[in-house]
Subunit: 307 residues, 4 copies
């Protein structure tokens, strides 16, 4: 699948630059399963519209997708229920750290956007109602788009997330108190922790994100989202995709992107390609230090940017 | 200057659609000078990279630029002091109504971004220090870019803004208490109210915005901003340009844009063209109802969008 | 036990005045079990230091104690662990509606005081750790002080509270995420809902509150709290006892008091007597309308007030 | 005026204990005029109902009254307009540091109580409207009650407060934007800074507070407040008088009190006496360290407490 291509020299150059970075942040340590990763790991993959994918470093190493999964559950739910979703979650930047309850209370249980934890819980809740198995629906989608049938939920990570899940339990019960959760909170949390515990590589995730660069078309040529919906998901990624650093990410990288505390970041160049980078060390806002740096370099070197 | 062009039929079609819109919101009424405009007024202009401009409706009618001015003072200040500015104002979406003091207190007097009122005051304060006359520097710039030497500050509007300026005075003094304002608050407010009271038409503002589509190059071919800075201003417009509706605007329109309570909105298609629409009736978040609708139609009909 | 006494004519006069009150608020309706009470019900009891108790109206009718229970769990926990408690809950007025999560987040999981729900959960959690059965310890205490062995938990109310307990579950999990809860949240909530579902009459509660007028001495002459601790509980009742209306209650009534959404209010005249009033209709801040009115009249007519 | 009396040995004992306190906090340093005081200074005075006053230490040394003045402007305004005041300021504890703008925004420009800065500004604004000279009305009252015609405004302190008054200017303009300020903000601030800059001794202030222990009766036997109003002012002092430490003060001291950043605290034992203590070193919440300690000891040693 790997081919020689114009982006490859750029990826090698970026990898060389990243190699010399001393300050790489610290891996997420709120659960033991994430704290074990070496912050010196680095991978980066680019997938073209036709499914060609290539990369550098640890680009075939699976890692915990975590919040990156929120992009896919959003798309899978939107594809099923369309604009009804927007009665239950807004699409405005949050302007607060990603777990904040303040704004949720201020706005009567309607989360600001689908990428803060509260909003992602609402999306998973609705997808679970529509499909009967939210995490399974997501896993099946990721396998199909990446062509990697080996993708799986890491049950140990899911159990560990659950054991440290009081904050998300609080969010779930709080929204339930406003009538904005349909499933029992315990059921929802189980789905959510499974969803976040799917492991995939940069290659897998760059491929799985392809439908957002192809204006809604899946790898097999069928349509998941309308062109308009695909643009809308990109817009939400740009404005809300990197926790409280969305403005900074748009300013530095200039692409729709979504990060996870597993150290991965996916990004979209609409009509051109998709990217995924991985580096376990996080900055104080929860985004991969080398991941943001690598994407910053990519858009600078290629001139690709939505602006 | 008007030429026949591919966008002209689209503008005419949009104008016809807007004509039939019944719900147009209400003009800003916090000062009498803004409340007089008829919400049935509508203008729209497109400026190409070479300075060709054309439009429909009231596209040559001057209106109060208000917060649209914040884009230009940001660019004029960035051109002079560069990244030093970012020690005094952040570039993250605010997630709160545009006058909120809450987040300002929470973040020790550093406004969230240059487009909320607090952040715009900081930018004007700094530009005033650097130039000795912030509002004059802005006026001169707008005249040069639009080629319209008749552009002027409406002193009556400025006086009216000042007479109703307690909220902005509170913001100024509050930031001054954190040491984040350099000029006397009264001097700053005078500059700020003048800046907001400059009147210009859709044609003028579409032309004046051109440097953001030309990656930093002014109308006369000289460079105002680096390519990187121009992209950054576009990124901030996309994430923060329409008050608390930035997410919704990105979702519906998909372009960097900036609105003002005078009913105008400017927007940028990087590398292609700039737009300005005007309709005095505002929605509950302070953005022109017909303006947002017209831009929504424009990107739908042309397929132009950064996503 | 009823005797002729100087307060009896005053109680009769108050009852007559209350009889003519048209506006009596609405019973709590968040659970069906509380919504059934007729807002025309009214009872009031006064207990003297020696255990003499008398009353008017429905003063022997059991009602749901709800948040009044928080005073007793506070005292029972303080008696056991003393000042260690204050590392886990503060004693400042909350300045926000009683269920607010905002301040809890702002202050890292340490509730503002023992009478907001979050603080009461912390107290019950700690009492449960110390006694193995918080709700049972409370019930035993209330039976002993009131001399009424028939006092019981209403299991139906407890189940109903639990079924509508998402807000309290959110609070519990949220504090647990800060490490401020010792027992499993489900165990804690079970204890808490049982505690709130104990039913007692005005007579029972006026008697049970007696230790706060006797500077810490229980009905049987043994000491529960030091004199200093008893004063401190009174101080917390005065500053925090009536949700977001503590200032207004202090202003109008001028006594330490604690209300519950079951419509009851207890009050203390230190060194003199204790009172309990009951009327199911609540004002918009969750306090019994006729209860506050009756206490207001009592302090006006008797001149008793701590000020 | 000094007489031998039962409290004198207690005052001497307290002074001896305070003498040995090592940790005394730091004087307010936001204006140079307050930073000069030696934190080893200490004074304490008790005034009986009949005007007898005695004290220890620096009890006749004038200091800056600062926020203590808010008690007197509240009483002077209440005496003139009665309950109308409560449409413009609430009487609930604030639950936030004393300068917070958050709650003010949340509650549409109506301050939580008359003792946070915002509320004190409203009271002074209204008193200024009613009397034409708020600070002068206050000065005249303090002179009359203390019998000390030499009391005066320290103009240097007032000028210094004004030069550092951005936070209060922000509050004033913010409330003006809600229509809750009647005078020009600059006029109001001038009155407010003068009011806070009156200098008086422990003896003066203990005497001037006497009307609150005499249920509203001034030193000359005339009535300032109704009995009910006097109780209400005491209630507000107890619940709101010591910034964000009102709960702690009620818990430790158990008396209505009001502190100022000049290091003074006044306190009331209703029907018995009034106290004033002074020590310039403040704790992190703005209250005199030795002042709170001295009052704590006083109520412990005498058994006097409203609880």
């Amino acid at each position: 699948m790997t081919s020689s291509h114009t982006f490859e020299p750029i990826l090698r150059r970026i990898a060389a630059e990243i190699e010399s970075m001393a300050e790489r942040g610290r891996p997420a340590d709120y659960i033991p399963a994430l704290a074990v990763y070496d912050p010196r790991r680095f991978g980066m993959a680019v997938a073209e519209l036709d499914g060609t994918v290539y990369g550098v470093g640890d680009w075939r190493e699976p890692f915990s997708t975590q919040s990156i999964s929120k992009v896919f559950t959003l798309a899978l739910d939107l594809a099923r229920e369309g604009d009804t979703l927007w009665k239950h979650v807004s699409r405005e930047p949050s302007g607060n750290p990603f777990n904040s309850l303040v704004q949720l209370e201020y706005e009567n249980g309607i989360p600001r956007n689908p990428f803060i934890n509260a909003g992602a819980l609402v999306v998973t809740d609705r997808l679970h109602t529509l499909t009967g198995y939210a995490a399974g629906t997501l896993l099946e989608f990721l396998r199909a788009e990446s062509g990697n049938a080996a993708l799986a939920i890491n049950d140990g990570v899911a159990a560990s997330e659950s054991a440290h899940g009081d904050r998300n339990a609080a969010l779930g019960h709080f929204m339930a108190s406003y009538g904005n959760i349909e499933n029992p909170v315990a059921v929802l949390l189980d789905q959510y922790f499974r969803q976040c515990s799917i492991e995939a590589s940069c290659a897998d995730l760059a491929l799985a994100t392809g439908f957002l660069a192809r204006h809604g078309i899946r790898a097999d040529g069928t349509r998941l989202l309308t062109q308009s919906q695909a643009k809308q998901v990109n817009a939400i990624m740009l404005t809300c995709g990197t926790y409280d650093a969305a403005g900074d990410f748009a300013y530095r990288v200039g692409l729709p992107g979504k990060s996870g505390v597993g150290g991965g970041i996916i990004a979209v160049v609409p009509g051109c390609c998709t990217l995924c980078v991985w580096g376990p060390g996080l900055d104080e806002r929860g985004n991969s230090v080398v991941g943001v740096a690598a994407l910053d370099r990519f858009t600078t070197l290629t001139g690709l940017s939505v602006f």
